[in-house]
Point group: C2
Chain length 441, copies 2
């Protein structure tokens, strides 16, 4: 472990990546230097900032001699105490983080892809070098999620973590619910407001949320899932009519990242899918681009951590909290505890049980309901409530099922697609928090 | 600083007080010993439990030789590493905590009265002895509030903290809102369910929330407010009709503990009062006996931390998180950072500005509205909305004001009481989160 060079407790920070979050962090470090020193007894000083292109304009004006395009050299410079990685992605972030840890420098990162895919290996490397690897900003931006799970709940038996961890999709679903917009319209608005990328795939298909689900599973259960292990469904198939129906039934539609013990463990389920959440559930009140993580534990009961999931300043706030922690631990020579990791079996979604909302468009002719109901029955999927709405010469049938095995519901859907009276399958949503809650079985 | 005695990283815990929380903690320590050791590398072992009356039955069966009625001797026993204080109140908790800290033993406490009234002195004593004083369970039970404020937001400029930190009053107000119950009826139900004491004064008059407001102010602003400094109004004057009206206007009524910078600081306001919270505000979704703390900061934006605010198991979960932290820091020889303290001026409520809801019962005769409106105008209190409801030969006038100085509103109320046409002043509620938000001025 490297001790800070300066006896006056100056801690020198190497910043890798200087976009929105990096710029906001540089600004906080500069404008709040005295304030932070007064509170923490440490002066956090920018040793340098590595960027890909020295000629590009920076969101925060930085002394030119702080900038470099040689990140590797910056990480290994002898006057650097702590490294902040805000490049994102795996390459070159991963080798740079490894180099920093090997050089005995604590690393703070906001990189969800890196932590989802290499979190276990990097945590081991950090532990072997006796330094911190902190990543509060990688999940839910400014919301304290990682630290509470790792420290406050260190002795807790967590049974489930459910997160609204993607602000783009939550914004889209909120607009669909509030204004009756269809998906394409709400997506276009999100793009206009800068809340969705021009290519929104990573958000709307659930990939971003899947990386965060993997991280949450690691924290809550020590499970070594990576993003690719996480079964995911995005929100592109969710229709305005489904959201409106959910509303009439007392639910809101949310894209959830779920990590839970199946049947009390040790098997886990880690998945991302849209779900109907009862309006009285705390997650239902998470609107627009906000994020929240809902935790259920044996002794603690239900907890929720809520706030801004993205944006330069909120993410920089989380990075700054980690940075102060890392600097303090470095001075004390005692890194934060690393989460344990173990290989837990991931239960495929088909083996889980859940209540479902299903929407079918059918040709409105005699006998159609009987035919459809027979298919449900043949797969042991029991119907709790049904509603039929006219739709020209078609009709829409909405079903709420009792808890059923997912595999049985998928088999039901496969058979329904073969029925001549069924035109198409519309929305398929899991129902959360009902008396029939999601569980394994 | 005392190092743990056992090279196998056994950390021995002295438990002071063995009621609901203490019993639940003893149970967690016993039943999860292996699990905790596996995760943390430390074996937490109960060294002894001090109780007032050895003959009383315990919620958790404990080996008889662990029990003692000599708390002082237990705290100072040479085989004790960490002390957990769950007695509550100031005496004998305070001298026992002081003795433990002086003996170089970290202390974990759930004692809000102690931390509100002696937090600054005890934190100094802990720092002087190089050990931890942790108190996550003192505010909002299982909800991680203290650690996020102290660590995650260590570099943040917090502007306001608003908490629903008393489950009893939140339960009562929730029932009044859901069922139209009046206060006495909802209180009786809370008492039946064991959610309110037979003498509910400390809860319903805001005293419990005031202690927590003082602790939150210390954490957020380093302010050295004690509970007695906190201006408080309870919920006993809130009527069913006020809650119903708030509902019709799109608000819910909540008892809030507020600590905020006035006009950007350094003056602070620390207070407890019922308030109208817009239904879309995250605090509005905190129902029943749940607690939540809502934090606003310059970079992080809005955060909310939500969960179970009381109860044996949830509080024990928070104590256990602190205990693991304290044990780890003790082994590392590096205590957690103590919050800084400073003497900030407390701005009296009369100098603040807020929008108000006011309910008046008046004799229904010509000219009454003109007389009332004249009083408002004479104190520069501007009316935003008014509604009149018949009430036999009386009428109820409901006013929503624009933002006004509290002192002016109080003067208005004083004058209104003198008006012959005004029978009585009903509910007076501050309105939160409107475009006219609470602020100093």
């Amino acid at each position: 472990m490297t001790a800070p060079r300066d006896p006056n407790a100056t801690v020198r920070v190497a910043l890798l990546g200087c976009g929105n979050v990096g710029g906001a962090l540089a600004e906080l470090l500069t404008t709040r230097a005295d304030e932070i020193a007064g509170r923490t007894g440490m002066r956090l000083e920018l040793a340098g900032a590595a960027v890909a292109d020295l000629s590009r304009a920076r969101p925060f004006a930085m002394a030119a001699d702080l900038l470099t395009d040689d990140a590797k050299a910056l990480v290994e410079r002898s006057d650097v105490d702590v490294v902040v990685e805000l490049i994102g992605g795996l390459d070159p972030a991963r080798p740079l983080v490894e180099a920093a840890l090997r050089a005995g420098r604590p690393v703070v990162t906001a990189n969800k892809a890196l932590m989802a895919d290499c979190g276990a290996e990097l945590a081991e490397l950090a532990a072997a070098n006796g330094v911190d690897l902190l990543y509060e900003a990688a999940v839910a931006g400014a919301v304290p999620v990682i630290r509470p799970l790792r420290e406050s709940l260190a002795g807790e038996r967590v049974s489930r973590v459910m997160g609204i961890v993607n602000g783009t999709t939550n914004f889209i679903l909120t607009r669909m619910g509030d204004e009756g917009m269809d998906y394409a319209e709400a997506l276009a608005e999100a793009q206009r407001l800068g809340l969705a990328e021009r290519d929104p795939t990573a958000d709307v298909e659930g990939d971003d949320a899947a990386a965060k689900a993997a991280i949450l599973a690691g924290l809550a259960f020590g499970s070594d899932v990576v993003a690719a292990d996480v079964q995911r469904e995005g929100i592109t198939a969710v229709q305005a009519v489904d959201v409106a129906f959910a509303g009439r039934l007392g639910y809101v539609v949310k894209l959830l990242a779920v990590a839970e013990l199946v049947d009390g463990g040790p098997d886990v389920s880690v998945r991302v899918h849209p779900a109907m959440v009862p309006r009285a559930h705390p997650l239902a009140s998470v609107r627009g681009a906000f994020n929240a993580v809902f935790v259920e534990g044996e002794a603690c009961g239900e907890l929720m951590l809520y706030g801004r999931g993205a944006g330069g300043a909120p993410s920089a706030s989380a990075v700054l909290g980690d940075l102060i922690d890392a600097a303090r631990n470095l001075r004390a020579g005692a890194p934060a505890p690393a989460p344990r990791r173990s290989h837990l079996r991931i239960r495929p979604v088909s083996e889980l049980r859940s209540a479902f909302y299903l929407s079918l468009e059918v040709f409105d002719r005699p006998g159609v309901l009987a035919a459809v109901a027979t298919v449900f029955g043949s797969h042991d999927v029991s119907i709790k409530a049904m509603e039929q709405v006219g739709l020209g010469d078609e009709a829409r049938l909405i079903f709420l099922t009792h808890t059923a095995r997912e595999g049985d519901v998928q088999a039901t859907l496969d058979d329904l697609r073969q029925l001549p009276s069924v035109d198409r399958i519309g929305g398929v949503l899991r129902v959360i928090g009902a008396e029939d809650d999601v569980s394994g079985g």
